[in-house]
Symmetry: C2
Subunit: 378 residues, 2 copies
């Protein structure tokens, strides 16, 4: 049976690990996916047979991958808004749609809108010349409005001398206060095309060099008032911005007990990978249910604690060889490999442990990830 003969339920744009991990619940739900993949053997193309190789910046490639799928969703936020509008005009439901997605694509648009909505953000300002940053005050953080991720497109600036690099970057810039924060949190909600919303427990996200290193669910010792506030922010953002699918709101928990929005992601997010093994319904399943307008599943945790540790490219290049040692060492830890070639610092997999004793759960997850990454327990 050729691609053309199959009626796909959802087209996914982008062939990374997020699209890959959508295929598992798609199999269970009986949803058929098609895929636009960056290459013939990228992570998701390995497991979604009906894929087209092409670029998400090419409208013809997008149309070819989407075919007659009624719903289009995304592995990343990089599809140009004009292409999204063209797909919508052609009768496809883009979920999230271009009007929502722009807030995850452009930090200036996002800051303006959240500020209008009264959602707490770090102090910020638009930057067009060095004087804007000087007026704002040092130290501060300068960011490109578009295209940054995992610490890229973000500069900490201490004085005017630090502005040369950011100001030579392409596109618009903004400056934000350097927030004195205790830790980073993430609040996730699923919002269905029907308007139904389900929220997940707020988690703690630990970063190393701007990249998520591990996630503890729920965030330990989180003040219930702050947790409620974080959940409320995520619901407000999902509803007011018209998000359909998963929304992750990355937050700073400040030293003076506030939560401030750092970034938004409108798709399954690294801080929600724990839900595959740790919640009744994973973020990937609820994302698919949401974009298809299906009723959402329970977000209840399966155990008291879940700890997710990313496997970043390390000293081991043959992950398959290390899989054996990791599985042998921790028969209760669930490993998830992305089928990607190992490069230093690249996200090539993650592991999740669940249980009643946080210290034990974290120890098991970290040990398994260390074995996969470096071939030795940390």
């Amino acid at each position: 049976m050729t691609r053309e003969q199959v009626q796909h339920d959802v087209a996914v744009i982008g062939g990374g690990q997020l699209a890959r991990m959508m295929q598992q619940p798609a199999i269970a739900l009986g949803l058929r996916l098609s895929l636009l993949a960056e290459g013939p053997d990228v992570s998701a193309a390995q497991v979604i047979g009906d894929h087209v190789v092409g670029s998400h910046t090419d409208l013809d490639d997008l149309r070819s991958a989407v075919g007659d799928a009624p719903v289009v969703t995304f592995d990343h936020e990089h599809v140009p808004p004009e292409h999204l509008r063209a797909l919508v005009a052609a009768g496809h439901a883009c979920r999230p749609g271009p009007e929502a997605l722009i807030h995850a694509q452009d930090k200036l648009v996002m800051r303006r809108r959240l500020t209008e909505l009264g959602v707490p953000c770090p102090r910020w300002a638009h930057v067009t010349e060095p004087a804007d940053v000087e007026r704002f005050g040092f130290p501060a953080v300068v960011k490109t409005a578009r295209g940054g991720y995992d610490g890229k497109g973000v500069w900490r600036v201490e004085s005017a001398a630090d502005l040369d690099e950011p100001l030579s970057a392409e596109g618009e810039l903004l400056v934000e206060e350097l927030v004195p924060f205790r830790r980073e949190l993430s609040a996730q909600v699923a919002r269905s095309a029907t308007g139904e919303i389900v929220d997940y427990p707020v988690v703690e996200s630990r970063q190393v060099d701007g990249v998520c290193s591990e996630v503890i669910a729920p965030a330990p010792n989180l003040d219930p008032a702050l947790e409620a506030k974080a959940r409320r922010i995520a619901r407000t953002v999902a509803e007011e911005l018209g998000v359909v699918g998963m929304l992750a709101v990355e937050l700073f928990e400040t030293d003076d007990d506030r939560v401030l929005v750092n970034e938004l992601a409108m798709r399954p997010h690294n801080t929600g990978h724990w839900t595959i093994d740790g919640a009744v319904t994973s973020q990937f399943e609820n994302h698919l249910r949401a974009v298809c307008g299906l009723p959402l599943g329970s977000s209840t945790p399966r155990q008291r604690w879940a700890v997710m540790v990313n496997v970043l490219g390390g000293s081991v290049t043959d992950l398959a060889a290390q899989r054996e040692a990791a599985l042998a060492a921790e028969p209760d830890v669930k490993i998830h490999l992305y089928g990607k070639a190992v490069k230093p610092g690249r996200k090539v997999g993650h592991v999740t442990a669940v249980g009643h004793d946080l210290e034990d759960v974290a120890r098991r997850a970290r040990r398994s990830a260390a074995l996969l990454r470096d071939g030795v327990a940390s």
Copy 2:
């Protein structure tokens, strides 16, 4: 990238729902599957892109699907032993291998071997003429040695008059006593190519018209001595017969407190579907780990009870339309659809609920399955 350029880890023969459900843990483990499918759009072919359409009775088709995969495993037991031996001779590890698999293919071979091993079976005899059954005594059960499944190839005989149909069936026959049993149990173990064994809790399996209707894990009120005996039988069979992969031993719990082996299956089995949502490691994941010689995962249940209910083809022909009602009614129940056209009585999906209160768990699972099957709650 073409099929030929990909190094597959495991070739799966047969494109039914068991192969389909292997793809989910294969994605997580980073194992690449190829598939021999009966048709271009059968259940597993929908989700395993690298498939060859052909017949499991055709050696060329088998070779074409297997390619250079080092390991071959199965969705069913119907590959002819001589073809399995040809694949082994060509350097592929068939798991389970032909010497083990024959015991799941031929009930006469199975009864002889289990009897030699001292594994408790119903009283049985080889049948070549009506007199053999008359000597054995009525009432009894006559079975074809090969090819029966889900109640097919099995006849209850009350007198010599009932023997015409079974004796006209193709192939060898055996007769077994009609065991007065309280209920049916199933004992599953995973046995890795390394020899490592992990056993699962013994479950109760309820049949309607010879087809599994639901499974309760663990079997309620099972005498611990009988449970230990069932587990021991499953381990013995796995070790003595050299099974690699999942083994299901279907058992009768007799009215006089014995357990007797009914049938063997050397693959993931309907009575183990509850493990996807109810155990730390599903039978599908442990099957793949076992056939790849990887360490096995924990079989510990995630909750006190799990109830799996099969969705058999019923009055609803458009499962996708009913999916919405089922998901809305039971946000905690996990549904698994097989991508198969609905035919009366055909297994087209299953649902699983887990929790602490058996009555509530069973009620939720049955309600969800009834909504999928008939569009109304039972």
